[in-house]
Symmetry: C2
Subunit: 714 residues, 2 copies
């Protein structure tokens, strides 16, 4: 491999740039600047010696992901692309004097001092790292093996302390060169990374926390020109160390985009439960409130659409409002397409666009410091895209456009917006702090069900059915309504449905909704109307999606989990069956399941031996399809195949996912039919005639009395 030769060359060149030459650099920079920062060169900091940090515990596994070749590979890529000059420094100076933006200006790394490091770390932590230098290989190997476990996730080696000093010192010099205006912007190709290191301990491949150290040093050296710093962390992992170091600091805004996955993704939840994690609700403390912005993705698999949307909707508005004097990117490239640890799909053009956006802040004072990223090709190409953008290259045209934002990510962004709204004007409207409204606030859910009750009682004289429950909750007050005389009906339609959909356009400014422009969509009433007019008794059961009571003031109450919902629904439908339907003399009982509540149909059929008394089942489904089968009744599954009609939206996965398609074809979910409509209300409207006809054909009782019965009811 010619790789060795290359790196040897680099090694020689990278370490022997002396102070005198750097002074010369400063000189010409003064010469050429002509008050145009755009004519200053972009800096690059690299020192081959940072490769010397390596795992003392080299075991059978070929490579630790935090591989020394990471920094070398990036530097080689910069050279190959012609961004870094490969000739002599004297020659470079001559070229840059004339054409400052043609090549990157080399920033020499140096050892960070203990004083610098202790701006954010404890002295005992510094000492701990320093002591690695005094250990024997054997001792280091044992320590490495021990540290590799669990959340610490670390290795150490003979030169770890030395490399860590250079890495932190490189970050300092890079940020200082930018903050002081000597360079337009700069990129520090450094390792070991820093953002997991806590103030008192190493963690997650990190020894010293380079970026916070550099930020602190800049603030101390340039207290006015560098008062407010934005640290933007796009490493796929949450930078717990950075967050915690500035958690109460109003002058450092930390914004992190990372996979959170409910705390299941590294670094997850801290051992000390008092410490904040990477969740969206960790916004900082005291004076630092709102100065911590966690954009934690719900899962891996995010890509350009999500990252650019996060930048457009959250990062840039907040960053502009914060209005920093310096921006530092904690630039891990493990969200890059190709990084297996990260499992995300951010492309080099997307990194270029994010960099370009950040360049609009702080008068362009932007320093990039490498953090994680483990696929050598992916990190090199991503870093190259960033460096080219720093050097003034227009961000690439994305031929295929930006992929659309996934719904799950959109929800996270909405939640971040709501969470940060109290601290940032640009994030309002946000959360509804219902506590401050006190007694005068009523949940719309109760308002709507109350209204439904009024309409159903006015139109069809429906009354609430008594349901005995262990506890009575307000949301359940009008949960089940029935038409009068239901006990003597020969035909009954039992509707188990979700609450009506609400569609509203809120006021952009204060989140109020104009009732005139808000609509409750209720597909059920038309069915009640038809059934009632045609001699059916109707049981209308409204199943709230939320079951946490007493009223919870947390606006993002998670939806009831599947199991709890299932229990609640089972309790309800079985109660209705046991205490009412089973006792009636019904010849034709039809079940109508709507939305999530269609679960009720399944649990009734599987928990009570009732199929022989049911003439047909109609379901409208937008969510999970559910098989209906029973361990005690082997015939149930076959019965369901022949006696059900299940409408499913045409864009449901069951029409495209091969596994589901197979199950659908086998009628595992009953007789499933695609609906051209999307929402429940619209689906129910679309298929109303078809459902009526289907029910009509299946009637066992004679239908003649229908009209008369209706008259009776009036």
């Amino acid at each position: 491999m010619d790789q060795t030769e290359d790196s040897n060359q680099a090694s020689k060149e990278d370490t022997d740039m002396n102070v005198e030459e750097t002074e010369k650099g400063k000189e010409w920079m003064e010469l050429i600047s002509v008050k145009r920062r755009g004519l200053l060169p972009t800096g690059v900091c690299y020192d081959d010696r940072m490769k010397l940090h390596a795992n003392a515990d080299f075991g059978p596994i070929p490579h630790h992901p935090e591989d020394p070749r990471r920094v070398e590979e990036i530097m080689k890529t910069f050279k190959k692309a012609g961004l870094v000059f490969t000739g002599s420094d004297t020659e470079l100076l001559d070229i840059l004097r004339l054409t400052p933006i043609r090549y990157m200006w080399r920033i020499a790394a140096r050892d960070a001092t203990k004083q610098e490091i202790c701006t954010v770390h404890t002295a005992s932590h510094y000492d701990w790292v320093q002591e690695l230098s005094d250990m024997s290989t054997n001792q280091l190997r044992k320590l490495s093996a021990k540290l590799d476990q669990g959340r610490a996730s670390l290795y150490v080696g003979a030169m770890s302390y030395e490399a860590a000093l250079l890495s932190a010192g490189g970050a300092i010099e890079t940020c200082k060169a930018v903050a002081s205006g000597q360079l337009k912007n700069a990129f520090a190709i450094i390792r070991p990374p820093g953002h997991h290191a806590e103030y008192d301990s190493p963690m997650g491949f990190c020894l010293f926390n380079n970026v916070p150290i550099a930020a602190k040093v800049c603030q101390l050296e340039y207290p006015t020109a560098c008062r407010k710093i934005l640290i933007l962390d796009w490493d796929v992992h949450h930078g717990n160390g950075v967050q915690n170091m500035f958690y109460q600091d109003p002058n450092v805004l930390y914004i992190s985009l990372h996979v959170y996955a409910n705390g299941d993704f590294y670094p997850g939840k801290p051992d000390n439960p008092m410490l904040p994690d990477g969740d969206l609700d960790k916004v900082g403390e005291g004076l630092g409130k709102g100065r911590n912005v966690n954009i934690g993705w719900p899962a891996q698999g995010m890509g350009d659409g999500e990252y650019l949307a996060a930048f457009q909707k959250i990062v840039m508005p907040i960053a502009h409002e914060f209005n920093p004097n310096l921006v530092i990117i904690s630039a891990g490239f493990d969200a890059a397409d190709g990084d297996e640890l990260g499992g995300c799909f951010v492309t080099p053009p997307c990194y270029a666009h994010m960099t370009h956006m950040l360049m609009s802040l702080a008068g362009g004072k932007l320093a990039v410091c490498l953090e994680g990223g483990y696929n050598l090709k992916a990190i090199s190409q991503s870093a190259l895209a960033v460096a080219r953008t720093l050097m003034g290259e227009p961000p690439p045209h994305m031929e295929m456009g930006i992929p659309p934002l996934s719904k799950e990510a959109a929800k996270v962004l909405a939640r971040v917006q709501a969470t940060q709204a109290p601290y940032w004007e640009c994030m309002r409207p946000g959360v509804i702090d219902i506590q401050e409204y006190g007694d005068s606030a009523t949940r719309l859910h109760d308002v709507i069900r109350g209204y439904q009750r009024q309409v159903l009682s006015q139109k069809y004289s429906m009354v609430p059915l008594f349901i005995q429950r262990e506890a009575l909750f307000k949301s359940f007050e009008n949960q089940v309504l029935v038409t009068p005389g239901i006990q003597s009906k020969r035909k009954v339609l039992f509707i188990i449905h979700d609450p009506p959909e609400l569609h509203a356009m809120p006021n952009l400014v204060d989140n109020t909704v104009d009732p005139h422009n808000a609509f409750a969509l209720d597909g059920v009433t038309n069915y009640v109307d038809w059934a009632s007019k045609n001699g059916f008794g109707v049981i209308d059961a409204n199943v709230p999606l939320y079951i946490t009571h007493p009223e919870d003031i947390e606006p993002f109450t998670p939806r009831a989990d599947e199991k709890t919902l299932q229990n609640q629904v089972r309790e309800l439908v079985c109660y209705i069956w046991d205490n009412y339907l089973q006792l009636y003399d019904v010849e034709d009982l039809f079940l109508l399941g709507v939305g999530n509540a269609y679960l009720g149909v399944k649990v009734l059929l599987t928990n009570r031996d009732c199929k022989d008394r049911i003439s047909g089942v109609v379901n409208f489904v937008t969510g999970n399809l559910r098989p209906v089968k029973s361990e005690t009744d082997p015939d149930l599954s076959a019965w369901y195949k022949h006696n059900s009609l299940v409408f499913v939206t045409a864009n449901h996965a069951c029409w495209s996912d091969p596994d589901l398609v197979k199950k659908v074809n086998k009628r595992r979910f009953g007789r499933v039919k695609p609906s051209p409509q999307a929402g429940l209300g619209r689906m129910m409207d679309e298929h109303a005639a078809e459902v009526r006809e289907w029910i009509g054909e299946r009637l066992r009782s004679s239908d003649e009395e229908g009209g008369d019965t209706t008259e009776d009811d009036k």
Copy 2:
């Protein structure tokens, strides 16, 4: 003035750059490019001869705003700032060969051909402009005087045709140099401007529509590389000509930011009502639907906050989704701070930031073409900020931050979002197309009032009061509710209130609102509760803000105008007075006005001679304060001063506007008190105890029977 000397120099130099030298330029551009577009120079197109277009009709008024010095002044500013080289072209070539981004590369303007112009104009329009060349000064003067009238708003002169050819040709050469990749980007300092010129007629200082001509020529010459073009028009006036030329074209996206002011701002509404104007709802036609985005401000006075928010929320998301191959800015600088015609406050740093954002599109292929802008200093400084940004200068740090977005502008952006939602993924959620929901949709207003009725009837046995109206509308069904036995009560509280406030957090993706997370805020119920328990009869009148029926499907139904609202409210409260209250034997009648509906208190007092029967008036006001006085009853005003208690939010203009403060101190609006709370619901909670006490003190009747009466009602 040394101005003359300068411009003479410029004149010589600007016209004699010949083809050979331009060819040389191409040569070196090939030499230096090394595949880095960032190393290409920024172009500038200027030709002194464009100054020759001047008004033949020079009258007593010193200068027409579209002044020949406009282009000269910009070029001078570029030179002074060192962006344009003032030495010889040979020397420039030598410098640029080494330092391509140090100076702008000069693009020679040329005459546009008839064929080029007729890609967007009719031949007869071309001929009309050409014929100006054959006219005598006298003829031109007469024509100018005539054309200056009304919407045409134009002057012509002896060299107008010649200058217009150069202006269009300059735009073409500028855009071609960028589209073809010869230059990184470019700025065309051209006049006469173009964006008002229609396909068949000149208009608004414009003869040929330069930008559309250039766009068409680029599309024809580079059909693949330049298929989709974004024209971003930040001139303070709407570019009617550009809009209309591409109204059905899917490959040209026209986005305009301009003052619309309901059509009162130039160019306003077209004479031909079939033609679209600059309103938000003009989105394009046929294949061009969604390819026309009008961000029309409701008034002048917009600034950096509004423009940057528009870019963040609308322009950039849509532009990225459109993903153009070339971006052209129709760059009028009349929204700049200092331009009297525009009356807006956009600063040079804001222009830099907008330019920087647009540079992220189309791989940086951005051409800027001058349109309007009439303050010589403002346009020069704004253009300079744009040019510096094009050349790679970081956009300036805005020391004071970005001013907050005004609420009126925020509403416009929300409306634009809603309007464009059907055409752009990034703009959803948007408008609620309620038509498609059919019968199953119920306006929330009716749902909530229905619920209120249920609650009030359950708790206080309140019943609807019969109101005879010319037409019965659904929204009025439960409008007035009263406690039973009201006719024999000695104490009555008459509440006239707005519908409850709704607060909801909609789903970001599809605009649905989760009823569990939506709240109806109703400050009135607590008052009903208290009054009812203390022996008052209660009349509760709910005044809908919207009175347009039959149900209007337009989601942006304007609020009822003042006059219509006043008539409706008067009709209602007078009906209640005449048919009920006047006939009762009430000793203590209190009025409670809440929100906009507090108008009802005023109209009752001014339209009926009732003050002597009223013990006190309490109002909660967030909107307009209203004086209460009568032409027929000179004592009413004094009475109101002593018998009212009016709570007004502390941030209401009446506490800061000197005129209003004076009126408040004179008690012209009654006894006004500031409330620390903002919303109606919260205000009512805050002052509940105070109001009760106040009412208690003013009671004429003995208060002992209170409790008993309540018992009677139960």
